[in-house]
Amino acid sequence: MMANTVEADGQLTPEEQKRLTADMNRSLRLRKIRSLLLVAPLVIFILVTFVSPIASMLFRSIDNPQIIEYMPNTSAAVAEWDADSNQLPGEEVFAALVDDLVTGRKNHTIGKAATRLNYEKSGMRSLLTGSARKAARLKPPFKDKLIQINSDWGELDTWRVIKRESRPYTASYYIAAFDMETTPSGEIKFLPEQQQIYLKLFWRTVWMSLLITAMTLLLGYPVSYLLASLPMRIANMLMILVLLPFWTSLLVRTSSWIAMLQGEGVINDVLVWFGLVDDDNRLSMIYNATGTVITMTHILLPFMILPLYSVMKTIPPSYMRAARSLGATPFTAFYKVYLPQSVPGISAGAILVFILAIGYYITPALVGGQTGQFIGNMIAYHMQSSLNWGLAAALGVILLVLVLGLYAAYSRLLGTNNQMSLR
């Protein structure tokens, strides 16, 4: 219970420092417990609804249980087989296969294994389900009889695919997500140009999100500046107009853009009426990339204005005045003094809008047509229609890594953190 003695110059010995730290921790413990209790509900909520889905998505993108689970005998037997031997597997592997086909047909599980193998090599589904129908009537030895049923059983490539997918984890979803394939010989190479989908879609998602971010900045910066420099009463009134979109449903806003932009829509009608556009030559501004950009710019604009406004509000007008009095033209004063100080707002708004945009899918689905689709639409397609969850998960992970990577590059390039801490 001895009190800490502090020497005349205020320096503590290491031992005393340790004791002081312990005392301090003890005195702060209660407060720490209280703050932990306060954040606990949110932490649990985030763990359940955010962290665990992401973790499960990360896992699902490499998880490969189907063959092991639904063709247990075959996957065990084929493990012994040397895929580079240029010889078909032996009779025991075929026997195991027949066993699995019979059980799988009885339990209605062979289809799942067949679907999984079909991702890797087309024709695998009919090979498995077709053979399964006849397998029950077969008597050993099975090898030649199976090859007789379907000559694909005599192909080395068929067995190589089965052996490859008998592993519990796979990179094949990522390979597919990068528009690549594994050739039967095990080589990984890009698909032919016209079959590539995802890379193009990723690239389009990124550049269109950048374009949308730039548009919101271009439109939002002057508005925020005006809001920040107006008297409080008027600024609050205008702020309501900025926030108005938040009060309407996303679907309503998107649909009203359809009414505005479509071929027989308001804008085209007005342009035709003024004679600026020929009636037979109406502009196509919706169901393409243009429609996606216009609509998403409008929808995401408040997310740019709000952070910009909150930062600009803190820049005293005397900075601009000081710059002017020191001899700077209005433009120089803005460019050298105001703009650098609004950078934290620009980066916060840009990151917010960009990250929201890159993952958007409702709006592109409604107004994007063919050329305005985002990667999010493809992920949704694989989740809901093709039910290839592994591929959807892999695409989602790539999107996540892309966002994190761009964010890291951005914050490093512009030194967002430095700017923030400066304020």
Partner: protein, 366 residues
Amino acid sequence: MENSASNEAFVRFEGVQKSYDGRTLVVKDLNIDVPRGEFLTMLGPSGSGKTTSLMMLAGFETATKGNIYLNGEAINDVAPHKRGIGMVFQNYALFPHMTVAENLAFPLKVRNMTSSDIETRVKRALDMVELGSFGNRRPAQLSGGQQQRVAVARALVFEPDLILMDEPLGALDKNLREQMQYEIKHIHERLGVTVVYVTHDQSEALTMSNRIAVFNDGVIQQLAPPSELYEKPINSFVAQFIGENNKLNGTVLSSQNGTCQVTLSTGEVVKALDVNTDKAGMSSTLSLRPERVFINPDGEQYDNMFSGKVEEIIYLGDHKRVRMNVCGHDDFIIKVPNSTDKRGIQVGEIVPIGWSVDDCRALDPV
């Protein structure tokens, strides 16, 4: 006319008015001539129009009516950045994203000076405010006083002939404020620039200025050197605003040859200098500085001799502040230097007091 103006007045306000809402005037008919090299302070309570006047001179507000001349030329329509006026702001307005040296280089860069020129001038300016080694710091890393000095150096670095200061010491604590007052005063004396300074702190104004313009209600109440302003206020507002002041209300009995007799409400008759009274029979407020009233005036004879009861004595080191009840006013303050109070006055005593007619000024009624 403009030539003659430039010979005398470096800065001239001529019939300047300013209204923000079109109904009330914030500045009413402002006329000032500031000669080259003068340190002029605009002093007044908040809302008196002093800052607005400064902002019109800087170019950030436009005059509703009237003309402002700088060096003989009307500058009403000249943009702020073309006026070449250095300005120090209340919150310093140092650019937080630039270092101290970059802040100082800013006015030179926009004037397209060569980088070697900029370097020498920035160094000279930093040395002038004794911050030679602080060039690479950010403003946020400096103390308030250091930031203040940087702000002054930045306003001076491009060698303007006129510096405007808008309550630049308002954010500093008392000791630092006094120290900075001397520093700014010395810089002014050394460089000989013209300074127009705005403050609501009267001691600051008295310390630094050549002349002080006391503002109230959009009008200059008095424009005079500090000593004249304190010793010879021409109206009650100035007398109240500058320094401490005893006021006695009464009616003018008679007035001749610059002196008048004023009857107080309690019946006593006081002789005073007739500065700002209307005519006999009208009311007036007498202004009397606490240090110009003497207790126990033995030997000497004053024009005004009264007696009062000591209500309270506050010891303040170099002097005592004595609150007395005189002529029905119980807030009558007398400052007694410790060296002259040999007898030692006591609370409750009734003592004779006296003051000279020259120290008592009959002003407009409050």
